[in-house]
């Protein structure tokens, strides 16, 4: 039962990550089509960048502490990437260069998005698997 709860909460964390990434992508797309100006766009994105990083780090730690080290390992590359960005101070969007970097910023977030979606599938799989096991028991 505890296990099921763990999978459930990790599922919600992943969905939250997904939402944050989609939000950032929407901001970038709006910027590209000139619906919002670069100042608003970058300040909106920058506001959620740190929460995203923290949430992801928390998720990784959460898996590790609850003994799901395979999932933790799966999260590790993402975490590593975030940490490198942060230490290089490249994690925030640069309002002055945002148009030149637009392409790269989008690509980076789409990759993350795909990554998160894959993780969600794993989480759902384990969740259902655990639930069925619980029922069996």
């Amino acid at each position: 039962m505890v296990d099921l709860f763990i999978w459930l909460s990790s599922f919600f964390i992943l969905v939250a990550l997904l939402v944050i990434l989609v939000f950032q992508l929407i901001c970038l797309a709006d910027l590209e089509f000139d619906y919002i100006n670069p100042y608003d766009s970058s300040s909106r994105i920058n506001k959620v960048v740190l929460p995203e990083f923290i949430l992801q780090g928390f998720l990784c730690l959460f898996y590790l502490l609850t003994g799901h080290w395979v999932m933790s390992l799966l999260c590790a590359p993402y975490l590593y990437y975030n940490v490198t960005l942060y230490t290089r101070k490249q994690h925030l969007v640069d309002v002055t260069e945002i148009f030149n970097l637009l392409h790269w910023e989008k690509k980076q977030r789409i990759c993350k998005l795909v990554y998160v979606v894959v993780l969600i599938f794993f989480a759902i799989f384990w969740m259902i698997y655990t639930a069925l096991e619980d029922v069996d028991d």
Partner: protein, 925 residues
């Protein structure tokens, strides 16, 4: 490459060097040879082939290029040593031949004989250009030293006068055909081989003049057409040649300054003047595959406010009744290329082809040819550049007044260097000429470790707290207060011993004061910001970092505060100009960011001393304050369907994908952009470009300046090269290379620049080399003859040259920011400054002197040989004058110029008599 010409390898280098280096080998237009060869020498050619494979040269070049570029001079040296003719060959490694060396093995074979043995002598002859094959035979001069020979050769040669001569010599060497000694040269055409190689890199050929011969040379008609296609350059590698013999004058040099391609204008007379908009090639490729074979950048350089000569000002049009006529869909402004149809009731947009209605008030009947009958009264339908007065729809607020705000560092170093005094005096003297009287606003803040505000209100009766309103005042109302303040400013701080600099907080204070209106903020910074927000560390320039992956970080702003601040400033229409004076490291990389993203400029005076640099500061500050400025501007460039501007380069901030925000623009700012094709195949015959700059003029009127240009779409790569514009290409390359230095090593930036030039020339060569049997020489289109020279100059310019020891980090960054904003003409002048000999001129009586002032102003090639130790020269790159006193300069002149104590070289004491001339020249900048 080297291979073929064994010897050659070195040459290549030379070429490059040539520009500078005096000696370089001669260049020769290939033309001459080419043709000739054909004629007589068929045989010969073969020889040449031996020489090498032409192609190689390029390729080789590719590889080698670096070297060449980098050190032109270097190569040559080797050569020099070489003895005269014989030598030429010597160079070639191969030669075993002791004596002559002449014949390089390779060649030899073809030739057959080693002509040279006698080398020296014979040699001489050949030189003459091939053209002559005729004959000149050579003169056997005995080959005296090469020099001698050369001359002869030239003589011999009939047609090819000078050029040939140079080239000539070498040729000789090679071919050495047995029999013909003389001819050989010609035949050899071979010369080409060498030449070619060298040529390739070489600096481009010089101006046309040299070439003339080339073309001429072609005898056969067919060739003529060839000539039109391109020019070629071949340098002989004669060993000895280098020396005297070598006539550097044959190298193309841009002595006439920038040449703007004119064929384009003739084709589309209604285009805007090239001073406003220049395309890197006036022939747009019709497909992506064609574009990928054009290895140079495809794009445009726009200088929207370029100064127009008297009588060619941009007409101002006021569409009060109808509103500005624009296309409904793409928002293009009405321009000379729109077509009217349906008896004048509709007009078709030239950019998106949409049919628009003509507003009633704008209607005019069409004549039989489909032209509007009122065409004469409609400048917007005749001229490529017009200005529309913008109605209120184009304003988000009332037009702002011109506003100048000064942020002056008054710490101890500023006081000691005399900077404050010069600045205060200059500002005071410019008060009358500030644009926009009587609306101009002005304000001051000074700072050291504290920030000082100055209440400028004329009426001090009821003052309580400093309100922003009091810090920023109307100049005409508070004129007296401002003048008094400026008069007392230098003395106010003369005893200041504060060494700190609260730059960041002062900047924020200025931002708050100005945020209501926007305007121009001039910052005079004397030391590294050390207090408060935005303080910077002494990162310094570190030798160990060069050559590593971290090298570029030094050239990036350290603190994100600066980028964020720049973005905010732009948002509030504040443009920043930075004046930096420190003798120590000031982190221009960070400070300059402010100017970069606000459309400003960086002026850097290392170790400022008012006695030495005061004049330069005065001049530049005065120009900055008094030139016509456009406020709160935005610029957009539109282009036809199928193509799109993708990247923008310069000092500005992008507000949306294609909208440049420019808080303050003036005539000294240009912006570059690159084009890409969106469709695989363009079906239209012509593409149109329209630059629109929406701005507030100093007089308070909101205006839209529109420049329209058309360019043909072509299917032929050769046409693209023919229509290329070297100035625009160099300008774009310069910006790309400087941006590259911000993300990678200096060396990478230089290499990629060279690689692109080499690739482009190789592509061009592939187009023509085979069909015209050009053998080994380098060929290049007439339009790009200076490209190699400028490419070389660019990689030796301050932002790109060398490594740690070659330029201080601050200077590098400051020059980088400056070059990112320069218009084409000024950039070319900076890269290839003019050198003028003035001693003869100064000695003439003044009346006569006035007459041939023009003659004297002839630019000399920048080679060491041009400097005569008895002469007096002025070297002018648009930013500074260097006056070069020859060692043997007559004492009279020196005394007159410098005053009796001319030991003190820096003192600029100039006799009044000469002063006129000198100052006149100064004014020419």
């Amino acid at each position: 490459m080297g291979t073929e010409n064994p010897g050659r390898p070195s040459f290549p280098m030379r070429p490059s060097s040539t520009p500078f280096a005096s000696a370089p080998p001669t260049v020769r237009p290939f033309s001459s040879s080419g043709p000739l060869a054909g004629s007589e020498s068929s045989n010969f050619r073969p020889t040449s082939p031996g020489a090498p494979p032409t192609m190689t040269p390029f390729s080789a070049a590719g590889p080698s290029p670096p070297a060449r570029f980098s050190d032109p001079s270097v190569p040559s040296p080797p050569i020099k040593p070489v003895p005269p003719f014989g030598m030429p060959y010597h160079q070639f490694p191969t030669h075993p031949f002791p004596s002559a060396a002449q014949i390089p093995p390779n060649r030899a074979p073809p030739v057959g004989q080693p002509p040279f043995q006698p080398p020296a002598t014979q040699v001489s002859v050949p030189p003459p250009s091939f053209r002559q094959q005729t004959q000149v035979p050579l003169v056997p001069m005995g080959s005296p030293p090469q020099n001698a020979n050369f001359p002869l050769p030239s003589m011999n040669v009939p047609q090819p006068p000078s050029d040939s001569s140079l080239s000539g010599p070498r040729p000789n060497f090679q071919p050495p055909f047995p029999g013909y000694p003389n001819k050989q040269p010609a035949v050899s055409q071979a010369p080409p081989p060498f030449p070619a190689q060298q040529g390739s890199f070489m600096p481009p050929p010089a101006p046309p003049s040299p070439f003339p011969s080339q073309q001429g040379s072609y005898g056969p008609p067919p060739r003529q057409s060839l000539t039109e296609d391109f020019s070629s350059l071949s340098v002989a590698s004669v060993p000895g040649s280098i020396d005297p013999a070598f006539d550097h004058r044959t190298l193309p040099r841009p002595l006439d300054g920038d040449e703007v391609p004119s064929s384009f204008l003739e084709m589309y007379p209604m285009n805007c003047d090239p001073r406003y908009l220049r395309l890197t090639t006036s022939a747009i490729p019709n497909s992506q595959s064609l574009l990928s074979r054009w290895h140079l950048p495809l794009g445009a350089v726009v200088c929207p406010l370029a100064e127009a000569p008297e009588g060619e000002e941009v007409p101002v049009i006021n569409f009060t009744s109808t509103g500005i006529i624009r296309c409904r869909r793409c928002r293009t402004y009405v321009n000379p290329y729109v077509t009217f149809t349906d008896a004048g009731r509709k007009w078709r947009c030239n950019i998106c082809s949409l049919l628009n209605d003509v507003p009633g008030e704008y209607f005019a009947n069409l004549d039989a040819t489909g032209r509007r009958i009122d065409l004469d009264q409609r400048p917007e339908l005749i001229k490529g550049s017009v200005e529309f007065v913008a109605p209120t729809e184009y304003m988000v607020r009332p037009p702002m007044p011109p506003l100048y705000f000064f942020l002056i560092d008054v710490s101890i170093s500023a006081v000691r260097s005399g900077m404050i005094e010069v600045v205060a005096q200059t500002i005071r003297s410019c008060l009358d000429e500030l644009p926009g009287f009587p609306r101009t606003q002005i304000g001051f803040i000074t700072y050291d470790s504290t920030i000082h505000f100055y209440n400028m209100k004329a009426n001090l009766d009821d003052i309580f707290v400093p309100l922003p309103d009091d810090l920023l005042v109307n100049l005409s109302e508070s004129r007296n207060v401002v003048e008094t303040f400026l008069d007392s400013l230098p003395s106010m701080f003369q005893d200041n011993v504060n060494v700190e600099s609260a730059f960041g907080p002062a900047l924020k204070a200025a931002f708050m004061v100005m945020s209501q209106l926007g305007g121009k903020l001039l910052i005079f910074q004397n030391s590294l910001p050390s207090l408060g927000v935005g303080r910077l560390k002494l990162r310094g320039d570190d030798l160990r970092v060069y050559g590593t992956d971290k090298e570029h970080i030094l050239r990036l702003p350290e603190d994100p505060f600066y980028k964020q601040m720049a973005a905010d400033l732009t948002k509030y229409q504040i443009g920043i100009n930075i004046y930096a004076f420190s003798d120590k490291y000031t982190d221009i990389a960070s400070l300059g960011t402010l100017a970069k993203y606000t459309g400003g400029q960086v002026y850097y005076y290392p170790s400022f001393q008012s006695g030495i640099h005061g004049e330069k500061l005065r001049h530049e500050l005065a120009r900055d304050l008094t030139r016509e400025t456009a406020w709160e501007a935005v610029m957009r460039i539109r282009c036809g369907k199928g193509i799109r501007f993708t990247t923008y380069h310069g000092n500005f901030m992008l507000r949306s994908t294609d909208l440049l925000a420019l808080p303050a623009v003036d005539c000294d700012k240009a912006y570059a952009m690159q084009l890409s094709l969106e469709e695989t195949l363009l079906t239209t015959q012509t593409v149109y470009f329209q630059v629109a700059l929406l701005y507030t003029a100093s007089c308070g009127e909101r205006r839209i300046r529109v420049h329209t240009a058309a360019a043909p779409v072509v299917t032929d790569l050769g046409e693209m090269y023919r229509q290329a514009d070297t100035g625009a290409i160099v300008s774009l390359f310069c910006r790309l290379a400087i941006e590259r230095t911000l993300t990678s090593k200096l060396e990478d930036a230089r290499n990629s620049l060279q690689l692109r030039i080499v690739k482009a020339l190789r592509e061009y060569r592939n187009l023509y080399a085979v069909q015209h049997r050009l053998g080994t020489r380098m060929i290049y289109p007439e339009s790009l003859k200076f490209l190699c020279l400028y490419g070389l100059a660019l990689s030796k310019s301050v932002p790109l040259k060398g490594g740690y020891a070659d330029a201080q980090l601050d200077e590098r960054c400051a020059a980088g920011f400056t070059m990112m904003a320069l218009p084409v003409k000024k950039l070319l002048k900076l890269l290839y400054p003019s050198l003028i000999r003035i001693d003869e001129y100064l000695l003439k009586p003044s009346a006569e002197a006035d007459d041939d002032f023009k003659n004297i102003m002839k630019r000399l090639p920048l080679v060491a040989e041009c400097l005569d130790s008895r002469g007096l020269y002025i070297y002018d790159d648009g930013f500074r004058f260097v006056i070069w006193f020859g060692r043997m300069l007559s004492p009279d002149i020196a005394k007159n110029l410098l005053g009796s104590d001319f030991a003190a070289e820096l003192s600029r004491v100039i006799l009044t008599e000469q002063d006129n001339e000198m100052s006149r020249r100064l004014m020419k900048i």
